[in-house]
Structure formats: C-alpha cells, structure tokens
C-alpha cells in the first residue's frame, strides 16, 4: 500500500474503532498527529454516523455502568467509570459525540470519554440559591451536554427551577460550563417551566432540547424548547401538525442524528415522530405507533434508542426493564435479550469517539500529553478508591 494519497489514508483510518486507533498512534509521528487532530476526530465521528458503526449501548443500574458494543453485541460488560460512587447512584447528566457527563452523590461531575478512558472533573458548582426562600420551593433540575461547533467547545448546561408556593409562579436559574474556559457562568433564564425531571437534555444539531410548559397549570400543553449552544438563547421547536399535544405527554430522543418526539397518549397509545430536517415542521414523520401489548411491560416509558444497522428496525427501551426492536414496516415487536444485562436499567446510546476532554484540545499537543499523564495518575488513584468502595 505504498504511497496512498493522504486523503485515502484518512478515509481508511476513519473507519477503524477508537481502541485500535489509539494503538495506531505509535505507527509513526505523522499518524500520531493525524489521529490526534481535531479535523480527524470530527471526520471519524461523521464517518461513524454515516456508516452506522462504532455505536454502543450504555446501561446504568445504580452505581454501575455496563456497555454493549452494537457492532457486535456479545453481551453487556461492566464499564468502570471514574467517579467514587459512595455506594449511591451515579447519574448520567448528558451525552454528546462520545462524551458522557456523570455525577455522584457528592455532586462531583466528570466529563468522560469511555472509549479513550480519559476524563476530567468539572469545577465545583454550588447548589442554586432560592431567591426568596419563604416564597418558593425547589423544583426540577435538569442537565444537558451539547457541542458548540463554532468554537469547538463542549458545554454542560444545568437548569434549576423553583416553584412558587402558589404552585403557579416559577423561576429558573441556568448555568453553563464550557470545556474551553473550564468555568461555569450564568446565562439567560429559561422562560418555561420544566415538565418533569427527564434525566437529560437531548442534543441535536447544536441545540439541547427539553419538554416544557408555558405555565404551571393542570392540562397545559407540552412543548419542546431548544437551547442554542452557540448563541445561548432559547426557541420553541415546531411540533408535528397532527400531534395532539394537549392529550399526550411528550418525551424526546435522537434517531439517526434527528430529533424525535415520543407522544404518549395516556399510556394507551404511543407515537414516535422524527424531524428529518431540523427545524422544519413539514419534515416530521411518524415512524411508529404502538398500542398496549403483551410484549411490553407497559406503555409508561417507551424510548427509542437507535436504528438497527440495516435501518429497518428501531431499538427501544421499555420501562427501564427491557429492550425491544420494532420493525418499521410491519410495526412488529421483537424482544432483545443481551447476556449480562442488568434487570433494571437506564439505557442510552453512545458513539465511540476520540473526542478529548482537554480544554486545549489540538492546540498544543505537548501540553496535552502532560495533562493526559496527570489525568491518568488521578485515574489510577480514583480507580483504586473505587475498588475499595465496591
């Protein structure tokens, strides 16, 4: 294979899994620089999405995480994470381009790439302050991890809300962490009330999405609000015209890089819609309609996770207890059992990427190396601690 043009070599390498690319860093200096470069890391993500490869399923039960390689689902294996759990639950706060944000009971937050095993601890963020303690109580608090393509930055957002004692008024506080600056700052308040504490905002196309209502009121129609990660501003996402959002509860997901809405009609019917072209109302398409069935635990929670490799089926999580595939053509359901899968879990799909958790990503590689060494030392320390707790 002597003297292949460099763009062909890049195209070949972009099809390889992350773990193997970490080995290929020691082929020669030009390959190491290539594999570490931001352009290549980004290209690798695009290629993985295009070819539907390098995706994994993450299952969380309590303080344990498990991963399933969706390219070759051999079984669920435990995925050691970098936080001390103190025998309490680990929460997953966000997922974006192969990075996960996780948090423990002590409110330590780690930005972590499970594929490269690199992580960084975020600076501590104090709990939100109730502006008028006599007048309000703590409401929902949600997070979301998003990507700012303009400044090539990853941002974690925390939205905290307080509900007035009249159960009508509400206030919110929004904090945003930037990996580039390694700092938290406040941004404009979210002018909507969060419906319930869904585990995390859903990231699509540089926007983080949550289900909200305009007013705290019974039977208020649910909406989807999007936070622009670059401009740090909010907008409403148009919903499918024929979706009856005052009769249903909404949930969100991502399928094939597109935003999808799950409309749950009083646990009798569930519809899954996908917005094929971001922001375009006419592009919504209904993919799946499910009724009550013996094959499902219940219709309380039906969450789409990913398309199958052929694109003919969708993998779903059902009530934190089971996984199933739904054939798009016949709408038939098929149970999915994975060896070693916990009995109850929270599931999400995570891309395997080379994205670095260093703030100076790609700018000064020597600096990066030494930082990574520091992280590794902390890794070792923390993993020992983790074993002691277990």
């Amino acid at each position: 294979m002597a003297y292949l043009p460099v763009e062909v070599v890049i195209d070949i390498l972009a099809r390889l899994p992350v773990k193997y690319l970490l080995c290929l860093r020691c082929v020669c200096k030009p390959w190491r620089s290539l594999i570490d470069s931001l352009d290549f890391i980004h290209f690798h993500i695009l290629k993985s999405i295009e070819t539907k490869t390098h995706f994994g399923l993450i299952l969380r039960k309590g303080f344990q995480l498990f991963s399933v390689d969706l390219d070759a689902p051999n079984g669920a294996v435990e995925l050691p994470h970098p936080l001390m759990s103190y025998s309490n639950d680990i929460k997953i706060l966000g997922s974006c381009n192969g990075l996960l944000c996780i948090c423990n009971v002590a409110e330590d937050i780690a930005l972590w790439n499970p594929s490269t095993k690199m992580h960084r601890l975020l600076p501590f963020l104090s709990s939100e302050r109730i502006r008028d303690p006599g007048m309000a109580i703590r409401g929902p608090r949600v997070y979301g991890l998003g990507y700012d393509a303009i400044s090539d930055d990853y941002k974690l957002v925390r939205v905290s809300q307080f509900i007035g004692l009249d159960y009508q008024s509400f206030e919110s506080e929004v904090k945003i962490y930037s990996l580039r600056t390694n700092e938290w700052k406040g941004i404009e308040d979210l002018p909507y009330a969060l419906c319930y504490t869904r585990r995390m905002g859903v990231h699509v196309n540089g926007f983080l999405h949550w289900v909200v209502i305009r007013k705290v009121k019974v039977d208020e129609s649910e909406l989807v609000v999007a936070l622009d990660i670059v401009a740090e501003s909010y907008k409403e996402v148009p919903l499918p015209e024929s979706l009856n959002n005052n009769q249903s509860h909404l949930d969100l997901g991502v399928l094939g890089g597109c935003l999808c809405v799950v409309a749950n009609y009083r646990e009798i019917d569930v519809e899954v819609w996908v917005m094929r072209e971001y922001g375009v109302q006419e592009s919504w398409m209904r993919l799946v309609k499910l009724g009550q069935s013996e094959e499902l635990v219940s219709l309380k929670l039906v969450r789409p996770l990913t398309y199958s490799k052929t694109g003919d089926d969708i993998l779903f999580e059902n009530d934190h207890k089971k996984l199933f595939l739904c054939d798009l053509k016949s709408q038939r359901i098929k149970d999915v059992r994975i060896c070693g899968m916990p009995d109850t879990f929270e599931a999400l799909v995570c891309l395997s990427s080379l994205v670095s958790v260093n703030a100076s990503r790609g700018r000064d590689s020597r600096n990066q190396e030494s930082r990574e060494d520091n992280t590794r030392m902390r890794d070792n320390f923390l993993s020992e601690g983790f074993k002691l707790v277990l």
């Binding site: 002597a2 860093r25 020669c28 190491r32 490269t116 990574e372």
Partner: protein, 163 residues
C-alpha cells in the same frame, strides 16, 4: 425494436485510453460515473477520445466494469437495486489481493469514483483491522520516525488498548 434503436442512437460512446495504450469504448452514462471523466466531458465537450496517463489498462478495465454494473442496476428503477448493488460490490472486492486492491484504489481515487473509493477503503479498513503495528508499517510501507523510547511511552500510556 424501434425503442432499442433510439436508445443506441442517443447513447454517446467515449473512447478511454489507458497509460499502456489499451482503449475502452464506453457509454457516456457509464464513464461519467467517474467524477474526473465527467469533468473532462463537461469541459472539453466534443472530445470523444480521453487519455488517462495515470491508469493502466488492467485497472481501468476493472474500474469500468464496476461502473457498468452500477449504471445498469440503476437504470431499472427496481426497489431491490440497492440490495443487488450491495451484493455485487461484495463479490467485486471479495477476492482482491492487497496489490490489486492498492492499484485499484489509486485508479479509483485518480478518476474520482467516489462510491468505488468508499467501497475499496472499507475493504482495506476491514483487512487491516486488528493487525499489529509492525504489520501496519509493512502494509503501508511506513518507517517509524520515533526516537528510541518514544514509541514505548505511547504504548505505555494506552497499554489497555494493546491488550
């Protein structure tokens, strides 16, 4: 009968001449699946003979065989087309040895046959996946330019990846 004669009259034929002088007569619709030839046809217009000094006859022939199959499959607007193409692609790359694959990839890249390059790079990727670093260097004819100890350091840092 009459319909087939109209199609033959409207189909323009191009002559492609490889570096070793071998020529191929190909329908324009087939040859323009290659970006480079499409550009030449658009720019130079009337030229019916196109010289390709960077590809020899053997590999140009293989590239054109692939183009022909895909052009034919795409004309019948059958739903199973994608499946047929996929199946045929699999057959096409199945028994290629490394040397042929390399020359074919170079030819496809030179002719800007994007889909074919895609197919061939995927094949190369599947062939090298899991090979040892030394084997990769051999395959790609690369000499390590690390100073003594540097490579060890990289290996040590991600030792788990080498297991």
């Amino acid at each position: 009968m009459s319909s087939s004669s109209t199609t033959t009259t409207t189909t323009r034929l191009l002559m492609l001449k490889a570096s070793d002088g071998v020529t191929f007569e190909v329908e324009e619709a087939v040859a323009t699946k290659l970006g480079a030839i499409n550009n030449m046809v658009e720019e130079e217009g009337s030229e019916d003979l196109i010289c390709l000094p960077n590809v020899n006859g053997k590999f140009l022939g293989m590239v054109l065989e692939w183009c022909k199959k895909h052009a034919n499959n795409n004309t019948n607007s059958d739903k199973g087309n994608d499946e047929v193409n996929k199946w045929w692609d699999k057959e096409f790359v199945m028994d290629l040895d490394q040397n042929t694959l390399y020359h074919l990839l170079m030819a496809a890249d030179y002719l800007s046959g994007t889909e074919l390059v895609d197919l061939l790079t995927e094949k190369v990727a599947s062939m090298i996946r899991g090979k040892k670093v030394e084997e990769i260097r051999e395959t790609f004819k690369i000499k390590s330019d690390f100073l003594p100890g540097q490579e060890e350091e990289i290996r040590k840092k991600n030792s788990w990846a080498f297991e």
